[in-house]
């Protein structure tokens, strides 16, 4: 009986997560101005870089790519919590559990950051050329990194949405926390530029990044219920 009950709860939670995810995607389709806003942000950022840096070498390309990725992430993820009005949060509070809510947000931002990373990479290749030696492994690292940044900033957006000056606060709260991950990503992506690593080191770094992502998800699931109640 107990097992059946917990099974029903699990199914119910999964159902709720999917419903919330669907709601976010549907909103994205209906309110297209926010999506196009981010796309335009990416395009204009890369264009500004294209005009200021005429012919970047591989190291500069790599560094600028990750910084752009970071700023795109802050802008894309910030709205996932900041767009929810207070009254609507109260409505979610009555119909769903905090764990389902934060998991749906994390999944939604994973999808969003995967798409944004691909668009960012395409624009970089189109405008700033392609200095990589192994393009597809760089693309994979780019998506992995984008998703990792998206996960951290989802939780930080949830924290910042409780305070004043939310957007700038998110950057202040986030930068010290993502810096180690960003350094690892820059280092790891050098393997796609033909730098030779010791055997197994890139693989270890990927595992470490995945472990970080798992840590963020676990922390979010544990901590978000405390933020949730007003």
């Amino acid at each position: 009986m107990q097992g059946l009950f917990s099974f029903i709860v699990k199914v119910n939670t999964a159902h709720q997560i999917l419903a919330l995810l669907k709601k976010d995607l549907l909103l994205e389709r209906r309110q297209q101005h926010t999506l196009y806003g981010i796309l335009l942000y990416i395009a204009s950022t890369v264009f500004v870089i294209y005009l200021t840096l005429e012919d970047p070498d591989a190291a500069t390309w790599n560094a600028i790519f990750w910084i752009t990725q970071l700023f795109i992430c802050i802008n894309a993820v910030a709205k996932s919590f900041l767009q929810e009005a207070k009254g609507r949060m109260l409505y979610f509070y009555t119909i769903t559990s905090p764990v389902a809510f934060i998991l749906s947000k994390l999944m939604y931002n994973l999808v969003l950051m995967t798409i944004m990373s691909i668009i960012n990479l395409m624009l970089y290749t189109a405008m700033l050329g392609n200095p990589t030696a192994a393009y597809w492994s760089f693309a994979a690292i780019g998506i992995l990194g984008g998703c990792g940044l998206g996960l951290i900033f989802t939780m930080l957006a949830a924290i910042a949405s409780k305070a004043l000056q939310q957007a700038s606060l998110m950057a202040i709260l986030g930068f010290p926390l993502i810096l180690p991950q960003l350094m690892m990503l820059v280092r790891l992506s050098k393997s796609a530029f033909g730098e030779i690593f010791n055997n197994g080191i890139p693989f270890q770094m990927i595992l470490l990044l995945l472990a970080f992502d798992a840590l963020i998800i676990i922390l979010s699931v544990i901590l978000f219920p405390f933020l949730w109640k007003d």
């Binding site: 709260l173 280092r187 007003d230």
Partner: protein, 248 residues
């Protein structure tokens, strides 16, 4: 309104609450020993370090004290999330504040030390600074200070007292859990001049000469206890302020 006077001995009219407890006497003794013994007792003669090696009793102890105080702070944050009593929030922020202060002192003592051992005398100071700031241990320390700077900015940007306590406790736990693994990872990614490259600096017994351990470990305990003492005074001040506010 919940009770704010859960702190034992908290009663300004009772003179007993200001008495020197045993650990405060221990702090005074240990720090006197650390300063006098640290300046007078024998140390190994190393060509590059010379007598500056005595800074170990101050510089490294600051970082130890900082990490221990931050750990106490996060424990109070977890306690706050568990039982929502304001005293834990006050304590968490007080320990974080003293921890940050110790971190800044760690930077200052480190800067003095580096200027005698690392800085290139042929270049101006800022030219050396550019390469010194890339040290992984310095990056880790800078990250810790930035995180707690952000913690205090977050606190000041929320007006509601309960919400401030809750949100900042969540950030404290999140940041601590994210930050501390990375402090141990970054040094393994970057080359470094800083001692303690392999493994965790100063925790390894063989890193430090036996003569220095005699002073080093008591000094760590002394500085940490001093930090706790300062934090406790800050907590009392905050409690008095809170009482005044809630009595109006």
């Amino acid at each position: 309104m919940e009770r704010l006077d859960e702190e034992p001995n908290f009663d300004p009219s009772n003179k007993g609450y200001m008495r020197l407890t045993w650990w405060k006497l221990l702090t005074i003794d240990l720090l006197l020993y650390a300063v006098i013994g640290g300046l007078l007792m024998p140390v190994p003669a190393l060509s590059q370090l010379g007598e500056t090696i005595r800074n170990l009793y101050f510089h490294v102890c600051m970082w130890f004290a900082m990490m221990i105080l931050f750990t106490i702070s996060i424990i109070h944050s977890i306690k706050y999330l568990n039982n929502k009593s304001v005293i834990h929030d006050i304590k968490a922020s007080a320990y974080a504040a003293v921890g940050s202060y110790m971190g800044i002192l760690g930077y200052l003592t480190g800067a003095i030390w580096a200027s005698y051992t690392w800085a290139d005398p042929n270049n101006p100071a800022y030219a050396s600074l550019g390469s010194i700031m890339r040290e992984p241990k310095l990056i880790g320390a800078a990250l810790a200070l930035l995180v707690y700077g952000a913690y205090f900015i977050l606190r000041s940007s929320i007006t509601d007292i309960d919400q401030k306590a809750r949100v900042s406790a969540v950030y404290n736990v999140f940041a601590y859990a994210m930050l501390f693994p990375t402090i141990w990872i970054i040094p393994r990614l970057l080359p470094s001049l800083h001692p303690g490259q392999e493994g965790n600096p100063a925790l390894n017994f063989n890193d430090i000469d036996a003569r220095m351990r005699l002073v080093f470990y008591p000094a760590v305990i002394g500085w940490t206890l001093l930090g706790c003492w300062i934090a406790q005074l800050n907590v009392r001040l905050e409690l008095i302020k809170e009482k005044k506010i809630s009595n109006v």
